[in-house]
Symmetry: C2
Subunit: 165 residues, 2 copies
């Protein structure tokens, strides 16, 4: 929930605050020994945080629970069409799986912290009418790069369908 | 596992047998009150069934567990690159989320039973080098149509991101 007691329509000046929620999920995953990618689903008409999630590959031995997917799983079923009023915030450019999931549910806005460490399905999103905003967050970019370069980062290729050299 | 005791490379003549495994998953889901879409992941060099799954929207209140995704979740983590040797069998044309997931993991072959009840991301699969085979299975097509037309089928629009009229 927003700390505000009055619900209001989300605007771009709210985006850093929502991204902070996603970032906290990334840090939570890292603290659990997992991949530090987090997500938050925001209901745009009210600015409410409907759901949070983080990559759970390591924690749940999951092939599917990237941050954005975990966020949608934590949400559970919602009324038809509700996701059309939501934005997906994610600390990293969403891979093609997560991008396509946003397209399936007609999520109109995806906000990412950075795409320097990985460039996902941003063009597919745009080709399907989804607005994509990159906050170019230097702090989150550094966090992810440091993790990829660390011993724990050896799981990274598996997460994006690549094979280590 | 294959009923054969000798592992052998899968060929198109094996496809109906693998689809039967996916179909049994669809029937299992229907018997649980769920959406009757099933999937099976086949290791092509050995013809082994590595994993089975079915739509779990109703059963798990899930936005993500379409049949193909559930199959990958039931698999759990596997060595890097193993999925590049596998085929995804599914009783219905895979939606854009499931198609993109196959692309992410570089699954080279998707075999579907039918696309009369729903046409998913088949073109996206082909555009990304994935072979797509449609078995045009009349029995499975009728099963899915009968379900969509039944009272239980009211959940169908939610599963594909649509809104009921």
């Amino acid at each position: 929930m927003s700390s505000s007691t009055v619900e209001k329509k989300a605007t771009p000046e709210d985006y850093p605050r929502f991204m902070q929620t996603a970032y906290e999920q990334a840090l939570k995953s890292r603290s659990e020994g997992g991949i530090p990618i987090g997500a938050a689903l925001i209901h745009l008409p009210t600015s409410r945080v409907l759901s949070r999630g983080h990559n759970n590959r390591v924690q749940l031995s999951s092939n599917v629970r990237h941050g954005e997917m975990d966020c949608l799983e934590n949400l559970g079923r919602v009324p038809e069409g509700l996701l059309r009023e939501c934005a997906m915030f994610t600390t990293l450019s969403p891979c093609i799986m997560c991008s396509a999931t946003c397209i399936l549910y007609k999520i109109p806005l995806v906000v990412l912290a950075e795409n320097q460490n990985f460039l996902g399905g941003e063009q597919l999103l745009r080709d399907n009418g989804v607005e994509v905003v990159n906050l170019n967050d230097e702090n989150i970019t550094k966090m992810m790069k440091d993790w990829i370069d660390s011993p724990q980062g050896s799981v990274w290729n598996e997460d994006i369908g690549e094979v280590s050299k």
